[in-house]
Amino acid sequence: MKWTEEIFGTKKAIIGLVHLQPLPGDPGYDKEGGVDKIIRMAKEDVIALQNGGVDGMLFTNEFSFPYLYKVEPETVATMAYVIGALRDIIKVPYGNDCIYDSLASISLAAATGACFTRGIYHGTWATSDGAVNSQGGRALRLKHNLGIDDFKLVYYFIPESAADLGGRDPFTVMKPTFFLNKPDGFAISGIVAGQKPDANTLKRCKETFPEAVIFAATGVNIDNVEEYMEYMDGAFIGTSFKKDGVFHNQIDETRVKTFMDKVKVLRNR
């Protein structure tokens, strides 16, 4: 049994994203509203996702624009505080992701009890925000040292807004990583949040790495979920669950429910 099925209780897990509002230190932080406003909005999103029937949730600092590859400690601390404040209402397994700091996500998880994350744990990438050198070795050591060996690292197959620095084929790049580092999963994304991934990439992943756990990571919605169902073990859903399907809006419970109804039908086929 794959770990996704163990944790989420289903073979095709739907993970709803909880996008936190800009945090202290972020350029977009609303000082007037303060951290209390961030908690209030996150709470509304958590309730909507859970009422809508998602299998899991992923907390991210989605609005910490522009993103950093070394996230500031106050950002991580605020995420920890928010998750701590919400823990009494959280009913489904959850992950946390400090975008784009793959090590900070691990530190945060040691604090919050999150059971998975997604991040850049392999490769060397040219990205919109500069060259990114992954630190897979450090990540696995950190996780071990913090006493969270069971914490799952889902590797971006190709990070968003990025390409391999040497122009190498992502499948060629992943082969030795898969053999040596044993990623807990792949996140297959489109070029940014809300953009759908190439279904063919998921299909090829499934064929090349049949035992891998595969997530469709961006742009999955009610109209296209069917084309990914066969190849994926789970999907991260953000934009499509929001009011009118707009990235900056909050979660719309009805959209979540409708989507989950469709997924349930597809799961039972």
């Binding site: 995420m79 040691a110 919050t112």
Partner: protein, 268 residues
């Protein structure tokens, strides 16, 4: 009137320490019992302190031994998560302290809504863990950058287990620290947690900077609190609230009550 009255509800305020157990990444962290246990014990201690009637509480990573001057992200995150969970139970104002890192303490304060932080912001010291340097200008600029403007900064000017690197007397240190940095309070400590603050030094500091809030930072006990409070504007109290007055023990609500009863008579 000092800001203690406005922010902590009383003059001669007693700030009680809530010492968190070792957390992920700390050598003493109990991986088997995990963060649930850290939270469980913190909840217990907070309850004892609140029932005992203290005016405010300060969360510190007291058992992150040996201490760092640049605290790691997982420690700050763990403290934030614990405080997030405890917020529902918190009935009194609170502060935070990531030992020994003023920047991390401010990060934690802005994340959790803490009223104050205590740290070593100034000076240069020979300490048990090597040369200890500070950079107050950077720290306070960072404070403004993250929107922590309103967080009160308690400057500990007598760090534990350390000695000033040059031969400066405490009066001069107190005066220049206040002139240069406008701290919200100065803290005067003994040699380590639990060791009585020398009341002579405490008095020298208070006399040197009468307009600044001065706190006795260590070693306050039921049998010296009247003397310390006759000089200091308030006290930070940890060890004496614990069972048998021992640092490693947990909070004993009866000891807290007895101490606070005494404080009330002193205040009156």
């Amino acid at each position: 009137m000092t800001w203690l009255k406005e922010k902590l509800g009383t003059e001669k305020a007693i700030i009680a320490m809530c010492h968190l157990k070792a957390m992920p990444g700390d050598p003493g962290y109990d991986k088997k019992r995990g963060m649930e246990w850290v939270l469980d014990r913190a909840k217990y201690e907070l309850e004892g302190l609140q029932k005992g009637g203290v005016d405010a509480v300060m969360f510190s990573n007291e058992f992150s031994l040996p201490y760092l001057t640049k605290v790691r992200t997982e420690t700050v995150a763990s403290m934030a998560c614990v405080i997030g969970e405890l917020k529902r139970e918190l009935e009194i104002p609170f502060g935070v302290n990531c030992l020994w890192d003023p920047t991390a303490s401010l990060d934690l304060a802005v994340a959790t809504g803490a009223v104050f932080v205590r740290e070593i912001f100034t000076g240069a010291y020979a300490s048990d863990f090597g040369v200890w340097d500070t950079n107050c200008g950077d720290v306070i600029r960072h404070k403004m950058a993250i929107g922590a403007d309103d967080v009160k900064c308690l400057f500990n000017i007598v760090p534990e287990a350390a000695k000033y690197l040059a031969d400066r007397d405490i009066t001069s240190i107190a005066k220049t620290t206040v002139f240069n940095n406008k701290p919200d309070a100065l803290c005067v400590s003994g040699a380590t947690a639990g060791v009585e603050t020398d009341s002579t030094i405490l008095k020298q500091v208070k006399d040197a900077v009468p307009e600044t809030v001065v706190l006795a930072n260590t070693g306050c006990r039921i049998n010296n609190i009247d003397k310390q409070l006759s000089i200091a504007d308030g006290c930070v109290v940890g060890t004496t609230f614990k069972k048998d007055g021992l640092f490693d023990n947990e909070v004993d609500v009866e000891r807290v009550k007895g101490f606070m009863d005494k404080v009330k008579t002193v205040r009156a």
